[in-house]
Protein backbone atom coordinates (compact mmCIF):
# COMPACT_ATOMS: atom_id res chain seq x y z
CA UNK A 1 0.00 0.00 0.00
CA UNK A 2 2.73 2.32 1.01
CA UNK A 3 4.62 1.29 -2.12
CA UNK A 4 1.69 2.22 -4.35
CA UNK A 5 1.39 5.56 -2.63
CA UNK A 6 5.08 6.18 -3.11
CA UNK A 7 4.83 5.27 -6.78
CA UNK A 8 1.96 7.69 -7.29
CA UNK A 9 3.86 10.35 -5.41
CA UNK A 10 6.91 9.71 -7.57
CA UNK A 11 4.97 10.12 -10.80
CA UNK A 12 3.23 13.20 -9.47
CA UNK A 13 6.60 14.74 -8.72
CA UNK A 14 7.91 13.78 -12.15
CA UNK A 15 4.84 15.29 -13.78
CA UNK A 16 5.24 18.52 -11.87
CA UNK A 17 8.94 18.71 -12.58
CA UNK A 18 8.61 17.94 -16.25
CA UNK A 19 5.70 20.37 -16.59
CA UNK A 20 3.74 18.45 -19.15
CA UNK A 21 1.41 20.97 -20.63
CA UNK A 22 -1.91 19.60 -21.80
CA UNK A 23 -3.45 21.48 -24.68
CA UNK A 24 -6.83 20.59 -26.15
CA UNK A 25 -7.62 21.56 -29.72
CA UNK A 26 -10.34 21.28 -32.34
CA UNK A 27 -9.53 20.43 -35.92
CA UNK A 28 -11.49 20.27 -39.16
CA UNK A 29 -10.80 20.22 -42.86
CA UNK A 30 -11.13 18.67 -46.26
CA UNK A 31 -10.54 15.01 -47.13
CA UNK A 32 -9.49 13.96 -50.61
CA UNK A 33 -9.79 10.20 -50.58
CA UNK A 34 -9.65 7.25 -52.93
CA UNK A 35 -9.05 3.51 -53.03
CA UNK A 36 -5.77 2.06 -54.18
CA UNK A 37 -5.67 -0.71 -56.77
CA UNK A 38 -8.92 0.46 -58.32
CA UNK A 39 -10.20 2.71 -61.03
CA UNK A 40 -11.44 5.35 -58.64
CA UNK A 41 -10.81 9.07 -58.49
CA UNK A 42 -10.57 11.26 -55.45
CA UNK A 43 -13.71 12.09 -53.57
CA UNK A 44 -13.87 15.40 -51.73
CA UNK A 45 -15.35 15.28 -48.26
CA UNK A 46 -14.61 16.54 -44.76
CA UNK A 47 -13.37 15.57 -41.33
CA UNK A 48 -13.92 17.14 -37.93
CA UNK A 49 -12.54 16.25 -34.53
CA UNK A 50 -10.68 17.11 -31.38
CA UNK A 51 -7.28 16.43 -29.97
CA UNK A 52 -5.30 16.74 -26.77
CA UNK A 53 -1.62 17.55 -27.10
CA UNK A 54 0.64 16.37 -24.31
CA UNK A 55 3.64 18.66 -24.62
CA UNK A 56 6.41 16.67 -23.01
CA UNK A 57 9.12 18.98 -24.23
CA UNK A 58 9.17 22.12 -26.34
CA UNK A 59 10.19 19.93 -29.23
CA UNK A 60 7.96 16.91 -28.82
CA UNK A 61 4.27 16.36 -28.14
CA UNK A 62 2.15 13.24 -28.11
CA UNK A 63 -1.25 14.09 -29.51
CA UNK A 64 -4.16 11.65 -29.31
CA UNK A 65 -7.01 12.67 -31.61
CA UNK A 66 -10.54 11.54 -32.10
CA UNK A 67 -12.19 12.56 -35.33
CA UNK A 68 -15.10 11.84 -37.61
CA UNK A 69 -13.54 11.29 -41.01
CA UNK A 70 -15.60 10.91 -44.17
CA UNK A 71 -13.58 8.95 -46.70
CA UNK A 72 -14.33 6.79 -49.72
CA UNK A 73 -13.82 7.20 -53.42
CA UNK A 74 -15.48 8.37 -56.59
CA UNK A 75 -15.89 6.33 -59.71
CA UNK A 76 -17.13 7.79 -62.94
CA UNK A 77 -18.08 5.73 -65.93
CA UNK A 78 -17.63 7.67 -69.13
CA UNK A 79 -19.09 6.47 -72.35
CA UNK A 80 -20.75 7.77 -75.42
CA UNK A 81 -23.24 5.18 -76.53
CA UNK A 82 -25.06 7.35 -79.02
CA UNK A 83 -22.43 7.25 -81.71
CA UNK A 84 -18.78 7.12 -82.45
CA UNK A 85 -15.84 6.33 -80.30
CA UNK A 86 -16.79 5.36 -76.75
CA UNK A 87 -13.21 5.72 -75.55
CA UNK A 88 -12.58 9.30 -76.59
CA UNK A 89 -11.96 10.94 -73.19
CA UNK A 90 -12.68 14.44 -74.38
CA UNK A 91 -16.06 14.00 -75.95
CA UNK A 92 -17.37 10.97 -74.13
CA UNK A 93 -20.52 11.85 -72.25
CA UNK A 94 -20.59 11.44 -68.53
CA UNK A 95 -22.98 8.61 -67.82
CA UNK A 96 -22.78 7.54 -64.23
CA UNK A 97 -21.03 8.64 -61.09
CA UNK A 98 -20.63 6.44 -58.07
CA UNK A 99 -19.65 7.92 -54.75
CA UNK A 100 -18.49 5.27 -52.35
CA UNK A 101 -18.58 6.61 -48.84
CA UNK A 102 -16.85 5.17 -45.81
CA UNK A 103 -17.38 7.16 -42.62
CA UNK A 104 -14.98 6.44 -39.82
CA UNK A 105 -14.56 7.35 -36.20
CA UNK A 106 -10.83 7.69 -36.24
CA UNK A 107 -8.56 7.42 -33.22
CA UNK A 108 -5.14 8.78 -34.13
CA UNK A 109 -2.02 8.95 -31.99
CA UNK A 110 0.14 11.67 -33.50
CA UNK A 111 3.77 12.24 -32.60
CA UNK A 112 4.28 15.93 -33.18
CA UNK A 113 7.69 17.51 -33.56
CA UNK A 114 7.91 21.30 -33.52
CA UNK A 115 10.76 23.33 -35.00
CA UNK A 116 11.59 27.01 -35.08
CA UNK A 117 8.68 29.45 -35.07
CA UNK A 118 6.06 26.71 -35.40
CA UNK A 119 6.85 24.18 -38.11
CA UNK A 120 5.43 20.80 -37.28
CA UNK A 121 6.15 17.33 -38.52
CA UNK A 122 3.53 14.76 -37.56
CA UNK A 123 3.58 11.03 -37.79
CA UNK A 124 1.55 8.32 -36.14
CA UNK A 125 -0.84 5.41 -36.38
CA UNK A 126 -4.62 5.54 -36.52
CA UNK A 127 -7.39 3.07 -35.88
CA UNK A 128 -10.54 3.79 -37.87
CA UNK A 129 -13.85 2.34 -36.77
CA UNK A 130 -16.42 2.33 -39.52
CA UNK A 131 -19.63 4.13 -38.63
CA UNK A 132 -21.42 4.04 -41.97
CA UNK A 133 -20.97 3.10 -45.60
CA UNK A 134 -23.13 3.09 -48.72
CA UNK A 135 -21.71 0.04 -50.46
CA UNK A 136 -24.92 -1.92 -50.12
CA UNK A 137 -26.73 0.58 -52.34
CA UNK A 138 -24.24 -0.23 -55.10
CA UNK A 139 -24.66 -3.94 -54.58
CA UNK A 140 -21.11 -4.40 -53.36
CA UNK A 141 -20.13 -6.57 -50.47
CA UNK A 142 -19.81 -4.98 -47.08
CA UNK A 143 -16.34 -3.51 -46.54
CA UNK A 144 -14.22 -4.04 -43.47
CA UNK A 145 -15.50 -2.60 -40.19
CA UNK A 146 -12.08 -1.46 -39.13
CA UNK A 147 -9.06 0.12 -40.75
CA UNK A 148 -5.57 0.68 -39.40
CA UNK A 149 -3.73 3.57 -41.00
CA UNK A 150 -0.46 5.40 -40.95
CA UNK A 151 -0.58 9.18 -40.92
CA UNK A 152 2.24 11.54 -41.82
CA UNK A 153 2.12 15.25 -42.37
CA UNK A 154 3.48 18.73 -42.01
CA UNK A 155 1.95 21.80 -40.46
CA UNK A 156 2.42 25.23 -39.10
CA UNK A 157 1.12 26.55 -35.78
CA UNK A 158 0.58 30.24 -35.15
CA UNK A 159 1.19 31.80 -31.75
CA UNK A 160 -2.50 32.71 -31.43
CA UNK A 161 -3.58 29.06 -31.52
CA UNK A 162 -4.52 28.68 -35.17
CA UNK A 163 -2.79 25.97 -37.13
CA UNK A 164 -2.71 24.62 -40.69
CA UNK A 165 -1.67 21.13 -41.69
CA UNK A 166 -1.46 18.78 -44.64
CA UNK A 167 -1.52 15.08 -43.93
CA UNK A 168 -1.31 11.89 -45.90
CA UNK A 169 -3.20 8.93 -44.50
CA UNK A 170 -2.59 5.46 -45.86
CA UNK A 171 -4.89 2.62 -44.84
CA UNK A 172 -3.30 -0.76 -44.23
CA UNK A 173 -6.32 -3.04 -44.13
CA UNK A 174 -7.80 -4.53 -47.30
CA UNK A 175 -11.20 -2.87 -47.01
CA UNK A 176 -13.02 -5.67 -48.80
CA UNK A 177 -11.24 -8.40 -46.90
CA UNK A 178 -10.75 -11.85 -48.27
CA UNK A 179 -13.40 -13.06 -50.65
CA UNK A 180 -13.53 -16.40 -52.27
CA UNK A 181 -14.40 -15.12 -55.73
CA UNK A 182 -11.23 -15.99 -57.54
CA UNK A 183 -13.06 -17.72 -60.40
CA UNK A 184 -12.33 -14.67 -62.56
CA UNK A 185 -9.14 -15.69 -64.23
CA UNK A 186 -9.63 -13.15 -66.98
CA UNK A 187 -7.04 -10.41 -66.61
CA UNK A 188 -9.51 -8.00 -68.15
CA UNK A 189 -11.34 -7.92 -64.84
CA UNK A 190 -8.27 -7.16 -62.78
CA UNK A 191 -9.47 -3.66 -62.05
CA UNK A 192 -12.86 -4.76 -60.84
CA UNK A 193 -13.81 -5.13 -57.23
CA UNK A 194 -14.97 -8.64 -57.93
CA UNK A 195 -11.54 -10.19 -57.69
CA UNK A 196 -9.60 -10.41 -54.51
CA UNK A 197 -7.27 -7.47 -55.00
CA UNK A 198 -5.92 -5.64 -52.00
CA UNK A 199 -7.82 -2.36 -51.93
CA UNK A 200 -6.70 0.25 -49.40
CA UNK A 201 -7.92 3.63 -48.26
CA UNK A 202 -5.78 6.58 -49.26
CA UNK A 203 -6.58 10.06 -48.01
CA UNK A 204 -5.06 13.52 -48.23
CA UNK A 205 -6.22 15.75 -45.41
CA UNK A 206 -6.01 19.54 -45.48
CA UNK A 207 -6.94 20.83 -42.07
CA UNK A 208 -7.11 23.87 -39.86
CA UNK A 209 -6.96 23.61 -36.10
CA UNK A 210 -7.43 25.81 -33.08
CA UNK A 211 -5.55 25.11 -29.87
CA UNK A 212 -7.14 26.44 -26.69
CA UNK A 213 -4.98 28.41 -24.33
CA UNK A 214 -5.18 26.59 -21.02
CA UNK A 215 -3.20 27.88 -18.11
Amino acid sequence: MKKIFLTIAFFAVVAVQAQIRVKPAVRAGINFSKFTNSDTDMKTDFFVGGSVALNFTKFYALQPELSYSRQGAKETLYANYSYGDPFDPIFSTRKEEYKYSLDYLSLTIINKFTFGPGFQVMVGPAVDFKIADNFASYGIENPSDIDVSLVAGVGFAFKNGLGVDLRFKQGLVDIFGYRNTTYYTDTYYEDNYTVDDVVLNQTIQLGVSYTFDTK
Binding site: D41, M42, Y83, D88, P89, I90
Partner: protein, 203 residues
Protein backbone atom coordinates in the same frame (compact mmCIF):
# COMPACT_ATOMS: atom_id res chain seq x y z
CA UNK B 1 50.71 22.03 -43.72
CA UNK B 2 48.96 21.44 -40.47
CA UNK B 3 49.05 25.14 -39.82
CA UNK B 4 47.35 25.98 -43.13
CA UNK B 5 44.53 23.47 -42.54
CA UNK B 6 43.96 24.99 -39.18
CA UNK B 7 43.88 28.41 -40.81
CA UNK B 8 41.30 27.36 -43.39
CA UNK B 9 39.19 25.70 -40.73
CA UNK B 10 39.23 28.84 -38.62
CA UNK B 11 38.34 31.00 -41.61
CA UNK B 12 35.40 28.76 -42.51
CA UNK B 13 34.08 28.74 -38.95
CA UNK B 14 34.41 32.48 -38.64
CA UNK B 15 32.74 33.02 -42.02
CA UNK B 16 29.74 30.89 -41.12
CA UNK B 17 29.48 32.41 -37.67
CA UNK B 18 29.35 35.87 -39.25
CA UNK B 19 26.92 34.97 -41.99
CA UNK B 20 24.74 33.28 -39.37
CA UNK B 21 24.76 36.40 -37.25
CA UNK B 22 24.05 38.70 -40.17
CA UNK B 23 21.33 36.60 -41.76
CA UNK B 24 18.04 37.44 -40.15
CA UNK B 25 16.17 34.33 -41.17
CA UNK B 26 12.46 35.01 -40.80
CA UNK B 27 9.40 32.92 -41.47
CA UNK B 28 6.02 34.35 -42.37
CA UNK B 29 2.99 32.22 -43.18
CA UNK B 30 0.40 33.60 -45.53
CA UNK B 31 -2.39 32.99 -47.98
CA UNK B 32 -2.61 33.49 -51.71
CA UNK B 33 -5.51 33.38 -54.09
CA UNK B 34 -6.36 34.50 -57.57
CA UNK B 35 -7.54 33.78 -61.05
CA UNK B 36 -6.32 31.05 -63.38
CA UNK B 37 -6.50 31.17 -67.13
CA UNK B 38 -5.68 27.66 -68.28
CA UNK B 39 -5.63 25.48 -71.34
CA UNK B 40 -4.15 22.18 -72.46
CA UNK B 41 -1.18 22.16 -74.78
CA UNK B 42 -1.95 21.29 -78.38
CA UNK B 43 0.44 18.41 -78.78
CA UNK B 44 1.00 17.68 -82.44
CA UNK B 45 -2.69 18.28 -83.01
CA UNK B 46 -3.38 15.14 -84.98
CA UNK B 47 -6.09 12.70 -83.97
CA UNK B 48 -4.50 9.31 -84.37
CA UNK B 49 -7.82 7.63 -83.69
CA UNK B 50 -9.35 9.25 -86.75
CA UNK B 51 -11.49 7.10 -88.97
CA UNK B 52 -14.19 7.77 -91.53
CA UNK B 53 -17.56 8.07 -89.83
CA UNK B 54 -20.11 10.50 -91.15
CA UNK B 55 -22.38 10.12 -88.14
CA UNK B 56 -19.76 10.98 -85.57
CA UNK B 57 -19.09 14.72 -85.74
CA UNK B 58 -16.26 14.63 -83.17
CA UNK B 59 -14.24 12.32 -85.28
CA UNK B 60 -12.03 14.57 -87.33
CA UNK B 61 -8.35 14.30 -87.97
CA UNK B 62 -7.94 17.40 -85.77
CA UNK B 63 -7.24 16.40 -82.19
CA UNK B 64 -8.99 19.50 -80.94
CA UNK B 65 -8.51 23.22 -80.71
CA UNK B 66 -7.73 23.93 -77.09
CA UNK B 67 -8.51 27.39 -75.78
CA UNK B 68 -8.43 29.16 -72.44
CA UNK B 69 -10.87 28.67 -69.63
CA UNK B 70 -11.11 30.66 -66.39
CA UNK B 71 -10.44 29.05 -63.02
CA UNK B 72 -9.08 29.97 -59.62
CA UNK B 73 -6.51 29.05 -57.03
CA UNK B 74 -6.43 29.47 -53.25
CA UNK B 75 -4.07 28.23 -50.59
CA UNK B 76 -1.43 28.61 -47.94
CA UNK B 77 2.14 29.79 -48.35
CA UNK B 78 5.14 30.08 -46.06
CA UNK B 79 7.81 32.70 -46.69
CA UNK B 80 11.15 31.52 -45.37
CA UNK B 81 13.31 34.58 -45.94
CA UNK B 82 16.85 33.27 -45.89
CA UNK B 83 18.76 36.27 -47.20
CA UNK B 84 17.91 39.76 -48.37
CA UNK B 85 17.53 38.52 -51.93
CA UNK B 86 16.40 34.95 -51.52
CA UNK B 87 13.21 33.50 -50.06
CA UNK B 88 12.21 29.86 -50.06
CA UNK B 89 8.45 29.60 -50.26
CA UNK B 90 6.59 26.30 -49.81
CA UNK B 91 2.97 26.39 -50.95
CA UNK B 92 -0.17 24.29 -50.68
CA UNK B 93 -2.80 25.37 -53.17
CA UNK B 94 -6.10 24.20 -54.51
CA UNK B 95 -5.94 24.97 -58.21
CA UNK B 96 -8.88 24.74 -60.58
CA UNK B 97 -7.60 24.31 -64.13
CA UNK B 98 -8.72 22.81 -67.41
CA UNK B 99 -9.36 23.81 -70.98
CA UNK B 100 -11.97 24.53 -73.57
CA UNK B 101 -11.84 22.29 -76.59
CA UNK B 102 -13.51 22.13 -79.93
CA UNK B 103 -13.33 19.95 -83.01
CA UNK B 104 -15.49 22.12 -85.14
CA UNK B 105 -19.03 23.51 -84.98
CA UNK B 106 -21.22 21.94 -82.32
CA UNK B 107 -18.42 20.12 -80.58
CA UNK B 108 -17.50 22.63 -77.87
CA UNK B 109 -16.69 21.23 -74.47
CA UNK B 110 -15.23 22.61 -71.26
CA UNK B 111 -12.82 20.31 -69.48
CA UNK B 112 -12.39 20.93 -65.76
CA UNK B 113 -9.66 19.48 -63.63
CA UNK B 114 -8.68 20.48 -60.10
CA UNK B 115 -5.46 19.80 -58.28
CA UNK B 116 -4.07 19.93 -54.79
CA UNK B 117 -0.78 21.55 -55.67
CA UNK B 118 2.25 21.33 -53.39
CA UNK B 119 5.02 23.59 -54.59
CA UNK B 120 8.44 24.85 -53.62
CA UNK B 121 9.00 28.35 -54.95
CA UNK B 122 12.39 30.05 -55.06
CA UNK B 123 11.76 33.76 -54.79
CA UNK B 124 14.36 36.37 -55.59
CA UNK B 125 13.50 39.80 -54.24
CA UNK B 126 14.75 43.14 -55.55
CA UNK B 127 13.26 45.87 -53.38
CA UNK B 128 9.54 45.59 -54.02
CA UNK B 129 9.81 43.36 -57.05
CA UNK B 130 10.38 39.64 -57.07
CA UNK B 131 10.95 36.85 -59.54
CA UNK B 132 9.87 33.40 -58.51
CA UNK B 133 10.26 29.94 -59.96
CA UNK B 134 10.06 26.36 -58.85
CA UNK B 135 8.52 22.92 -59.24
CA UNK B 136 5.14 21.67 -58.03
CA UNK B 137 3.57 18.28 -57.50
CA UNK B 138 -0.12 18.41 -58.39
CA UNK B 139 -2.43 15.67 -57.16
CA UNK B 140 -5.67 15.57 -59.08
CA UNK B 141 -8.68 15.81 -56.78
CA UNK B 142 -11.52 16.43 -59.20
CA UNK B 143 -12.31 16.39 -62.90
CA UNK B 144 -15.31 16.29 -65.22
CA UNK B 145 -13.72 14.04 -67.83
CA UNK B 146 -11.72 10.87 -67.96
CA UNK B 147 -8.17 12.07 -67.34
CA UNK B 148 -5.31 9.79 -68.28
CA UNK B 149 -3.07 10.75 -65.35
CA UNK B 150 -3.99 11.51 -61.75
CA UNK B 151 -0.72 13.28 -61.02
CA UNK B 152 1.04 16.19 -62.62
CA UNK B 153 4.53 17.53 -62.16
CA UNK B 154 4.78 21.14 -63.17
CA UNK B 155 7.21 24.00 -63.33
CA UNK B 156 6.23 27.58 -62.73
CA UNK B 157 7.83 30.94 -63.18
CA UNK B 158 6.47 34.32 -62.28
CA UNK B 159 6.95 37.85 -61.12
CA UNK B 160 5.52 39.82 -58.27
CA UNK B 161 5.23 43.25 -56.76
CA UNK B 162 4.82 44.02 -53.06
CA UNK B 163 2.51 46.95 -52.25
CA UNK B 164 3.34 46.70 -48.57
CA UNK B 165 5.44 44.29 -46.53
CA UNK B 166 2.44 41.99 -46.35
CA UNK B 167 0.35 42.44 -49.48
CA UNK B 168 1.65 41.45 -52.88
CA UNK B 169 0.49 41.04 -56.46
CA UNK B 170 1.70 38.04 -58.45
CA UNK B 171 1.55 36.74 -61.99
CA UNK B 172 2.73 33.28 -62.93
CA UNK B 173 2.92 30.75 -65.71
CA UNK B 174 2.77 27.04 -64.86
CA UNK B 175 3.52 24.25 -67.27
CA UNK B 176 2.78 20.60 -66.51
CA UNK B 177 4.99 17.84 -67.85
CA UNK B 178 2.74 14.80 -67.38
CA UNK B 179 -0.03 14.70 -69.99
CA UNK B 180 -3.56 15.07 -68.66
CA UNK B 181 -4.75 13.52 -71.90
CA UNK B 182 -2.77 11.08 -73.99
CA UNK B 183 -5.63 9.60 -75.98
CA UNK B 184 -4.21 10.75 -79.27
CA UNK B 185 -1.38 13.23 -78.87
CA UNK B 186 -0.17 14.47 -75.49
CA UNK B 187 -1.88 17.41 -73.84
CA UNK B 188 -0.33 19.05 -70.80
CA UNK B 189 -1.55 21.63 -68.32
CA UNK B 190 -0.71 25.25 -69.06
CA UNK B 191 -1.85 27.83 -66.53
CA UNK B 192 -1.53 31.60 -66.45
CA UNK B 193 -2.43 33.01 -63.08
CA UNK B 194 -2.83 36.44 -61.52
CA UNK B 195 -3.55 36.98 -57.87
CA UNK B 196 -2.81 38.45 -54.49
CA UNK B 197 -0.79 37.15 -51.61
CA UNK B 198 -0.89 38.22 -48.00
CA UNK B 199 1.63 37.23 -45.35
CA UNK B 200 1.11 37.59 -41.62
CA UNK B 201 3.60 39.17 -39.25
CA UNK B 202 4.36 36.80 -36.45
CA UNK B 203 4.39 38.45 -33.02
Amino acid sequence: MKQSIKGIFTAVVVFFAFSQAEAQVTFKPGIRAGLNLSHFSKGDGYNYNYYEDLYYPYNTNNDGDFSSKPGFYIGFIGELKLTKYYTLQPEILYSNQGSKVSRGPGTDATLDVSYLSVGIVNKFTFNKFNINLGPTVDVQVDSNFDTDNDLDLAFQIGAGYNFTKNLGLEARVKRGVIPVLDYSSNHDNVVFSVGLSYVFDLK
